[in-house]
Subunit: 219 residues, 2 copies
């Protein structure tokens, strides 16, 4: 079956969310890594809880609330300028090193490529432009339907927007929860297992497991 | 407003899930605490993902799968007997020390008391009997509707079963995600903050925050 649409998760998959550790370290000496890790953990927990309880809040707000909790939890004070700087770090995340070349290779083969993310357009567009990927792929956000991945409604929206059949989509994510939702919905999936984790026991097997994104050109 | 129903979460609230560390330690020397912590973390992650993706699996299966992942992740081998022993430890969790007296006090005041848990009846009933709480409260499981807390559908089922108004329910949990769902649904809530955590930034304030369960008799 030919792949007609290459669809990419953003955070953790194309962009390194832990790039924020550098800014956090500059503000809170010796705490950068811990802040970054707790911040991400809470961000994931919070959007999933909003989805589970049926109270959607945009990812920008979720991300800010996760940061506020993290600083409170670590007994770190924070003024408006620091908060602004830390949130701005999310608009300048590093892109993983193999990403641009991989996207370019598929672009050269005239493949349709799209980011599909829980982030808002206000978070994603500056990031994609900053990292000079905007000529390589489109950007689509769950904020259009206000239902977070891994809810089936979220993947359905992407499918309808792409206008292809669901088994013509190859969905890439480094987040196993995202692979679980996408595979369960019927997308073909490639888990970009950057952290070298074990496959979760959720009754889902990704079609492909790769160490980084470059291997998708072999599919 | 009079409280007509006292509703308790089970795991972490009445029963200490980390009691399993002792059995784990006896099987995997020096690893008991780590196994217990990862096991619980994965158990929470897994049932939430099943709920989010619309693929309900009973909590007994989720709990077993979380254990299997944990052992795999820690590179620990496991035979059927060990697995059986570890799963059985879930049927013999310790009850927190103030629980029985608190329930008895409310029972003496003829208050209606119910456990409402994500666990299955096969997990909850032996536990409640083992810890001699069965004469103090009823047991209700989300397995009847196959929708996990903190989904609103799960709390709705409890409400209908109890036959009271939603603001006549006082819902107790040590899990903030459960308090979030219950409060969002309209129950009155008491967060039993055993671990002394900060309030999560989810736009929800519990009606009461207590250090242990005994304080609920003052409400």
């Amino acid at each position: 079956m030919t792949i007609k649409a290459y669809v990419y998760d953003a955070y953790g998959t194309l962009f390194d969310v832990h790039s924020v550790a550098e800014k956090a370290e500059s503000l809170y000496k010796g705490k950068g890594k811990e802040i970054s890790e707790q911040w991400r953990k809470k961000q994931l927990e919070y959007f999933m809880l909003h989805q589970l309880t049926g109270n959607y809040k945009p990812f920008s707000e979720v991300t800010k609330n996760a940061l506020l909790y993290t600083l409170k939890n670590l007994s770190l004070s924070c003024n408006e300028d620091d908060l602004h700087d830390l949130m701005n770090a999310y608009l300048e995340l590093n892109v993983y090193e193999e990403v641009r070349e991989t996207l370019q290779t598929l672009k050269n083969k005239s493949k349709k490529q799209t980011i599909y993310s829980n982030g808002t357009y206000e978070m994603l567009k500056p990031l994609v432009e900053k990292r000079e990927l905007d000529h390589l792929l489109d950007v689509l956000s769950v904020d259009d339907v206000k239902q977070y991945k891994p809810s089936p409604i979220a993947y359905k929206y992407a499918l309808e927007t792409l206008g292809v059949d669901r088994n013509e989509v190859l969905f890439m994510s480094s987040n196993f929860w995202d692979i679980t939702g996408a595979a369960s919905f019927g997308f073909r999936t490639a888990w970009i297992n950057r952290a070298g984790l074990e496959v979760d026991e959720l009754g889902i097997k990704p079609d492909y497991i790769f160490h980084d994104l470059s291997e998708i050109v072999t599919v």
